[in-house]
């Protein structure tokens, strides 16, 4: 499964748990639109730490990087390269 698909599935599940079953595109800004909260960003952080071994303590943290499937995928690609 590609990184993008894995992230997409995770976000779908996250939204479903919040009772939000409407669809979204890979470019859609889910935090900016208010569909995901800062607490959800933390859930994404934990997902990325556990699945990709990313350590966010040694890099500047920018909530904007967690806004869409596309931006999260780009973040993972940048860090694990």
């Amino acid at each position: 499964m590609s990184t993008q698909t894995k992230i997409r599935n995770f976000l779908e599940e996250l939204l479903n748990n919040k009772g939000d079953s409407s669809g979204f595109t890979d470019q859609q800004l889910l935090v900016t639109e208010g569909r995901l909260s800062s607490l959800d960003v933390i859930t994404i952080v934990v997902f990325l730490e556990e699945n990709y071994g990313i350590d966010f303590s040694d890099r500047p943290f920018d909530q904007n990087e967690f806004d869409s499937v596309e931006s999260i995928t780009a973040l993972v690609d940048t860090v694990i390269k």
Binding site: N17, K18, G34, S38, L39, I42, V46, D62, Q63, N64
Partner: protein, 489 residues
């Protein structure tokens, strides 16, 4: 089942005809006129100037950023900005500066000094890669500010030095979270020049020490990219402004019925005459508390008033921001629908919560207790809702520090410290309890237990977070005990 909802304010932003109309010159004029009328209804004394800036931004959206900066500077120079002018004037008078300096020279020199300080600090951080300052610019700023407060409180300064030192700290304190967002934005591509960052150091649409809506990076993301997005943003702004007006009517009637305050020259001959919180606390302190049911009424009435007041204030700010072409989220969004204590915190005062999350929650969560997930979450929440919350209010209430010195102010802040700890603990536990848990949709939980628990908690606890009336914690606890008829003779 139909999804049609009854709407008090029609969903004008979803009408293709109106969206189309709003993209043409005539439509823009119409929208501005409707918005101006809405501001007038809200009693805005500067609605003409506001609408003029909005008109320029509507017709020349390509110059939105420079216009935002110009509008904000104008707003500051014309003293519409809520910059603790009264406190600055007090310092100016008390230190007797009037004989040697004019008032405008005094405050303008302080504003320019503060801007220069912010710019220098911003560029210093940007050029300090690999240092502590680069990694922790906000923490360094906050610690530096506390050191300056201590110096101002206790150093043997002359009257003039005191006046300028406190004046600088008052203005820097007002803008400190705006500077924090600028520092956060320093690495975000494509970045915003510092001069344009200044455009949202309390923009002309309003705000407080809390930046609405956040910083430059966020504004770039939510900025309308084309005529259609601008039209939708403006229609949403109008909708929100008129919703705020509906709420202000509800608040006016509520205050008339409950507190006996006249509303549009109307006054009821009989009203509930519920006392204010300060009055109830004063009675408690004097040993003559009100009856237990009056204390409950005081608490409930004040909570409802606080929710409505905050909603209306935030809606007007965000409505104006949307009219300027920024698709900002509401500051208060249906707090009564909250199913958990943590959710209410997110819905009640969104931009304040975001500030605490960005500068306290994330740094703590990402750095500490990484091997202990539950402790990690709890401590990060405490850092935000507890420590960050206390620090924010401590800086905001600088007049108390000026009066009592930094140590005296810390003592006076015991009630707010307790509030911060209580809030941090409750939100932290709420988050732990609901982490990775699917929300219950059972009607009893949705409509009965959740609202009673959540609103009950905030209704009771909010009393500790009200502006400092000068009482110790014991008075508050006595007030609460009186509510369950304990301690009343």
């Amino acid at each position: 089942m139909s999804n049609t909802r009854i709407r008090i304010i029609p969903a004008i932003d979803q009408s293709p005809v109106l969206v189309q109309l709003a993209q043409h010159a005539g439509g823009k004029v119409l929208l501005l006129a409707v918005f101006a009328f809405g501001l007038h209804l809200h009693g805005s004394r500067s609605w003409q100037e506001l609408v003029l800036i909005l008109a320029l931004m509507s017709f020349w959206p390509q110059f939105r950023r420079p216009l935002l900066t110009a509008g904000t500077i104008y707003w500051l120079l014309s003293q519409h900005t809520r910059l603790k002018w009264g406190l600055l004037g007090h310092v100016f008078d008390v230190q007797g500066l009037g004989t040697t300096t004019s008032w405008s020279t005094y405050w303008l020199s302080l504003v320019v000094t503060t801007i220069l300080f912010c710019a220098m600090y911003y560029y210093l951080v940007k050029r300090s890669r690999g240092t502590w300052l680069y990694r922790r610019p906000v923490a360094t700023l906050l610690v530096g500010y506390i050191i300056l407060l201590t110096i101002a409180s206790y150093a043997p300064l002359t009257a003039t030095q005191q006046a300028y030192m406190w004046g600088f700290l008052i203005i820097l304190g007002h803008y400190i979270w705006y500077l924090a967002y600028s520092l956060q934005d320093r690495n975000t591509a494509p970045g915003t020049k510092f001069i344009y960052q200044l455009g949202h150091y309390q923009p002309f649409w309003g705000g407080s020490n809390t930046p609405f809506p956040k910083g430059a990076a966020y504004l770039r993301k939510i900025e309308a990219k084309n005529a259609e997005e601008l039209a939708i943003s403006q229609l949403k702004g109008i909708k929100l402004l008129y919703w705020a007006f509906v709420l202000s009517i509800v608040l006016g009637i509520f205050k008339m019925v409950v507190f006996g305050k006249p509303f549009y020259n109307l006054a009821l001959p009989d009203h509930l005459a519920i006392p204010s919180v300060n009055d109830a606390l004063a009675h408690t302190r004097s040993g003559e508390p009100y009856q237990w049911y009056i204390n409950w009424a005081v608490l409930l009435a004040n909570f409802i008033k606080a929710m409505l007041t905050l909603s209306i204030w935030g809606h007007i700010i965000i409505a104006t921001c949307r009219m300027a072409g920024f698709k900002a989220l509401r500051n208060t969004r249906s707090p009564l629908k909250s199913k958990t204590i943590a959710e209410f915190w997110n819905r009640y005062y969104y931009y304040f919560k975001e500030l605490l999350v960005e500068f306290f929650f994330y740094p703590t969560y990402l750095k500490y207790f990484k091997t202990r997930p539950r402790l990690r979450m709890f401590m990060a929440t405490m850092a935000a809702a507890g420590l960050g919350n206390m620090l924010y209010h401590f800086f905001r209430d600088i007049h108390i520090i000026m009066e009592l010195g930094i140590w005296g102010a810390l003592e006076a802040f015991q009630v707010y410290v307790f509030y911060g700890l209580l809030l941090g603990t409750a939100i932290g536990l709420s988050q732990l309890r609901n982490q990775n848990r699917k929300q219950s949709t059972h009607w009893f939980r949705t409509y009965i237990t959740a609202p009673v628990t959540v609103l009950g908690f905030y209704c009771i606890s909010h009393i500790f977070g009200l502006p400092y009336p000068g009482y110790g914690l014991d008075v508050y606890f006595q007030f609460l005990m009186n509510m369950i008829n304990v301690g009343v003779e």
